[in-house]
Amino acid sequence: MNIVVCAKQVVDVSEIKIDPQTQKPIITGIAKKISDIDKNALEEGIRIKEKHGGKITVISVGSADVKERIKELLAMGADEGVLVVPPDNADYAMISHILAGVIKKIGSYDIVLCGEASIDMFSGQMGPRIAGFLGIPQITYAQKVSAEKDHVVSERNLGDKIVTMESLYPVLITVTKEINVPRLPSLMQILGSASKPLLIWPMDGVVSGQLIHKISTIDVKGVPMQRKNIVYKDDIDKSVEKLVNDLAKEGVLR
């Protein structure tokens, strides 16, 4: 079973602060990591490989420093890594186009695994767009994947219902973070990751023709959350009554 896992480097969003003057997020100096749900995708890939054998290739489109992050994924259990550095300001369409180009160049694949979305932008577009470029079936929001020899059965979590789907290979699956708990690499796996291939492919060998930039980000701003700072100073019973009324007025209690 040949497995491709798509991974994205993101800033650790839990550490992002908003500049109180400009409302813009401060992202300089914040640690970078692989988007959490992409690690779930790799973990699922490793489990499928443990069952059927095969090879796992991790691919990423991002800046040159993503190499360091890919090494962590090689330590976790991927066999090979491929990185493509995109043009500046690449949008979802361009990046999915490049990722699809990488997968086409890899050629032989049965399953492409992605996180349902990245933890920074959370557009959820990458998997479906790649499946579109590749012309293969897709199963999104998978919370369970049972990979059999010639087909895969997967449970999609659509919030209010669970839909079970089946597909032949090749197939693209995006997973939710509930699907598994990603393993940590052992010291020996970290040592072993240094000898696994990590390739940087140039853009021109991956996509032909000009990529057209269609989406421009005009501004990124944090949502200001103003506290009301109401202090209830009456006796307990009255204060509780007022608090409950106020909460109901705000729509917190229904």
């Binding site: 360091e68 090494k71 962590e72 330590a75 940590l184 690499p185 052992s186 010291l187 020996m188 970290i190 040592l191 990751s193 240094a194």
Partner: protein, 389 residues
């Protein structure tokens, strides 16, 4: 020409890529697996058996054990960062890791015969048995020469009699480096080291101590009554025990210094978080200069302590004698930890004095780092002897 002269940055005070990956892995492990249970283990005085099993799977119980014996064969800086990150979440698990690697495995790596290495190192690397180090006796602490435990060779066995005290992991250890007198007329040159298994005839665990801190690391007496230790379990030669003990403790001090840095870092982490959230007089207490100065001092001392640890570790890997460097790292890091936890409780005020807050545990855990594996006074003796010549 020296190629380093062309290097604009010939001295690198940063971890390499592999060391960073190891630190990140252990940090994540400690956050997910250790932090959620640390307070409970402390309260129940419960040994972290399950955590140690998980650590063994990740190779953390064989960090410095060579790969041919099933370990990771890593450098001392990697080892130090592992102990620091574990201790940052649980100082008890930290000291168990430190003693297992540097006081039990290391002397076997350094002084063991091929047979001893083949027999014992894979067991330690896999965590099938936990290691301990038994030198201290009721009347022989800093003064190892006052040791009373004796080992007498009879046929194919040494017969060991005596007792040891304050043995970290004592009740749980399976492989113990035991020191005993083989020639009572030769002073410290009459001490020898042995690899002892807890299953050997005549071995027993004495009382378990109730301690101020590091509650989850069990500490006990060990009692040897006509304990029969096979002749081939002598570590090094007869009379080399004192040398083995001192060189092992040099490395052990890097572990304890790392544990102290971890505790101090935890105190700083907690203080930063609390001071940015606690409000008094209409503002966060982190805005008050009195708090800022405490935080600044903590951060500065921690950074200095960590670099002293890395310095000792780096020199150890280069094969240099590190008595002075390890003593400096252990002395400074443990006193930094004590100072940091004191400030952390102060910053937390009344809440810091309650078991609701982590700093209360850190305050109790820090003190031991100034005592075991050589008190601060012994570290100063070692440093002074090296500096004064």
């Amino acid at each position: 020409m020296n190629p380093e002269l062309n290097d604009p940055h010939p001295m690198k005070l940063e971890m390499n890529e592999q060391q960073l990956m190891i630190r990140n892995m252990v940090r994540e492990f400690a956050a997910k697996e250790i932090a959620p249970i640390a307070a409970e283990l402390d309260k129940k005085e419960e040994y972290p058996t399950k955590t140690l099993e998980k650590m063994a799977k990740l190779g953390l119980l064989g960090i410095i054990i060579p790969t041919q014996y099933g370990g990771a064969g890593l450098d001392t800086i990697s080892y130090a960062t592992v102990v620091e990150e574990i201790s940052r979440k649980c100082a008890s698990t930290g000291v168990i890791t430190s003693v297992h690697n540097s006081l039990a495995a290391w002397p076997i790596i350094k002084y063991g015969t091929d047979e001893q290495k083949k027999k014992y190192l894979p067991i330690l690397a896999k965590g099938e048995k936990i290691g301990a180090f038994a030198a201290t006796e009721p009347n022989a602490g800093s003064d190892l020469g006052a040791m009373l435990t004796t080992a007498v060779l009879k046929g194919h066995h040494y017969i060991i009699n005596g007792s040891k005290t304050f043995i970290t992991s004592g009740p749980k250890a399976g492989i113990i480096i035991v020191f005993a007198v083989t020639d009572k007329n030769a002073g410290v040159k009459g001490l020898s080291a042995f690899i002892v298994e807890n299953t050997m005839k005549g071995y027993s665990v004495g009382s378990i101590f109730e301690k101020l801190g590091i509650h989850a690391s069990l500490t006990s007496e060990l009692i040897f009554e006509n304990m029969e230790v096979p002749k081939e379990n002598l570590l090094g030669k007869e009379g080399e025990g004192f040398k083995i003990a001192l060189s092992t403790l040099d490395g052990g001090r890097i572990g304890i210094a790392s544990q102290a840095v971890g505790i101090a870092q935890a105190a700083l982490d907690e203080s930063i978080e609390y001071s940015k959230q606690r409000q008094q007089f209409g503002q966060h207490i982190s805005k008050f200069q009195a708090i800022q100065w405490m935080i600044a001092d903590m951060a500065t001392h921690i950074e200095a302590a960590r670099f002293l640890v890395y310095n000792a570790a780096y020199k150890k890997d280069k094969g240099e004698r590190i008595s002075k460097e390890a003593a400096m790292a252990k002395l400074f890091a443990s006193e930094t930890a004590m100072d940091a936890v004191n400030k952390a409780v102060q910053i937390h005020g009344g809440y810091g004095y309650t078991k609701e807050y982590t700093v209360e545990r850190l305050f109790r855990d820090a003190k031991i780092t100034e005592i075991y594996e050589g008190t601060s006074e012994v570290q100063r003796m070692v440093i002074a002897a090296n500096v004064l010549g």
